[in-house]
Amino acid sequence: MRVVKHVLGRVAFYVVAAVFAAVFALPLLWLVFAPFGSRATLSVALPDPFTLSNFGRVFANTFAVRALFQNSIIQAVGTMILVTLLATLAAYALSRAPIRGRDVLSYGLVLFSSIVTGTAAMVPIFLLIFNLGLIDTHMGVILVFTGGLLPAAIFIMRDFVDSIPRSYEESALVAGASPWGMFRDIALPIVRPGMMVVGVWTFVNVWGGFLVPFILLRSPTKMPAAVAIYSFYTEGGTPIITLTTAYALLYTLPVLALYLFVNWKYGFRFFGGIKS
């Protein structure tokens, strides 16, 4: 009797797990198969014949290649460097300096940045960037992303810094290090995993971000992949599915690779984690 109950329990577990898996996998299935087929269709089918020609045609499209390998990278890497640097400094200060109300400040800014966001915030931000003369520049996109992502990045980073025992830095100070030497020799190396995670998180957010470049950029030569992906149309105006899906797959790969990297290196634990 107990054995039967145990077996039934296992079966039920696998059935429910399979349903969950199907729920999340099914909508993406088409995207995995379609790029390798030669015929454009919206149904899921094993590609027959299997072909890589769609990727070849994507690589032949200079506009698309530039969007992916130049513009997206400039914007994502630029923002990543700025956010990681500023968030590390700010989080370190919030954790280690006697700043009044620092807890309310960290949490409040994350909330506020979740309020002043999206299309509502794009109206004044567009006017601000317009007045700065930065419309249609990579710099404008980078600055706006940096401002929007910083509060959450600081929050995640603080989680890291707070988890480091203060005695590391204190023992460096007592050993005779100057505050700057202590920060460089001890604090920075120890928070490096946090910087990696914040960096990856920022990169992924900018890489996938659509609204900001969509509104701030005009010229096709500056569009990142998120916007450029809408350019594979026939002269009749219908999307060329084979090319679009091949491009979408290429565009998604870095995100998956970074996820696997973080998961392998640090375990994808929840770093006070926010994703906007």
């Binding site: 025992p165 005695s167 590391y168 204190e170 023992s171 460096a172 100070l173 007592v174 050993a175 005779g176 290090a177 100057s178 030497g181 020799d185 001890i186 190396p189 120890i190």
Partner: protein, 359 residues
């Protein structure tokens, strides 16, 4: 080499006074233990010497130099932290040599001196490992090595043994005492473990609620505790304390009365009817019989055989009194029993908890 002087040091955190008007001096080469329960201000005191906290008022001197406002790096001290604080991204050798590195000592010389100290502490085979790869005892020695490598004027220890298991702790205790004697460097050692303080210190400072309540050689503090707090904090099991009323030349409680005449000298200023506290160490208590004049009756509460000795606890007038009895066979008492003692071992504390000293 230097002495350390505390002059009227007060430290406040907001409205909370962590250290209240504390003054003391540690002589050159002396080993002083700061002993007290958590939150008594002992760690704050240590951190003020290190320069990690600023006193609210008062002066701190190391040698002749006033270091009250000096940065940690200007004080020339070595400190061992409770969690060792070994830098996880550096090798053991780099950890030990870090104080030399920030002093601008060259790579080769650093390596040589780190190896020398490591050899002294028997960790020289670990130099190329990382902190995560060595045992707790080895980490502890590494952090000691890092504290002594640059030959500082003062050593500070912040409960350095509390993360070790019981057996290693005893080993590390004698090792640290030996090392301090050998190097002869002025040391301040913070602990909440009275046995550690007794075993290691030249002098013990007992702290309670931000103040030093007694400062003296370990045995003196043990034998003549200045207050009921000190009496209760030192010794394991601690001193037995009994509340009594002093009336008509006797100490009276609800169930016993003791002749107070041997203490007449100490009781000269005590008014009839005052509430006093009597103290007696467990090792000075034995099972009583009809013939004992100094006897307190009670009810057996527990008998705990420990091997070389046994602990017997009686319930006496609502309080628990413990005797440490030496000998091979634990007593088999149950029900009513009594304890006896020699009045020479009795401590008397006044209404304010202070010891009444013989005059």
């Amino acid at each position: 080499m230097a002495n350390v002087t505390f002059r009227s040091i007060t430290k406040q955190f907001g409205a909370f006074t962590a250290v209240n008007d504390v003054s003391f001096e540690i002589a050159d080469g002396e080993f002083v233990c700061l002993l007290g329960p958590s939150g008594c201000g002992k760690t704050t005191t240590l951190r003020m010497i290190a320069g990690l906290e600023q006193p609210t008022s008062g002066r701190i001197l190391i040698g002749a130099a006033d270091v009250t406002e000096a940065k940690p790096k200007e004080r020339d001290i070595g400190m061992v932290f409770q969690d060792y604080a070994l830098f996880p991204h550096m090798t053991i050798a780099d950890n030990i040599a870090y104080p030399l590195k920030v002093r601008g000592v060259g790579q080769a010389e650093r390596r040589r001196r780190a190896a020398e100290v490591a050899k002294n502490l028997s960790i020289d085979q670990l130099l190329d490992r990382r902190p995560g790869q060595i045992s707790g005892g080895q980490q502890q020695r590494t952090s000691v090595a890092r504290a002594v490598v640059h030959k500082p004027k003062v050593y500070l220890f912040d409960e350095p043994l509390s993360n070790l298991d019981a057996k290693l702790r005893l080993e590390a205790r004698s090792f640290l005492k030996h090392l301090q004697r050998e190097l002869g460097v002025t040391s301040l050692y913070v602990t909440h473990d009275q046995a550690e303080a007794m075993a290691m210190a030249d002098r013990v400072a007992v702290m309670d609620r931000g103040e030093i309540v007694q400062f003296g050689p370990p045995l003196e503090v043990y034998r003549q505790p200045a207050t009921t707090f000190v009496a209760n904090f030192l010794g394991s099991p601690p001193m037995n304390l009994l509340s009594v009323r002093y009336a008509g030349g006797a100490f009276a409680s609800s169930t016993f009365e003791l002749d107070a005449s041997p203490f007449a000298g100490r009781l000269r200023d005590v008014r009839d009817g005052s509430e006093l506290t009597l103290g007696i160490r467990p090792e000075h208590v034995r099972m009583g019989g009809e013939g004992d004049r100094w006897r307190i009756p009670g009810e057996v509460y527990a008998v705990e055989p420990l091997g070389p000795e046994s602990l017997v606890t009686l319930r006496v007038a609502g309080a628990l009194v413990t005797a440490r009895l030496f000998g091979d066979d634990p007593p088999t008492a149950t029900g009513a029993a009594s304890f006896a003692f020699d009045p020479a071992h009795l401590h008397v504390f006044g209404q304010d908890g202070r010891r009444l000293a013989a005059r």
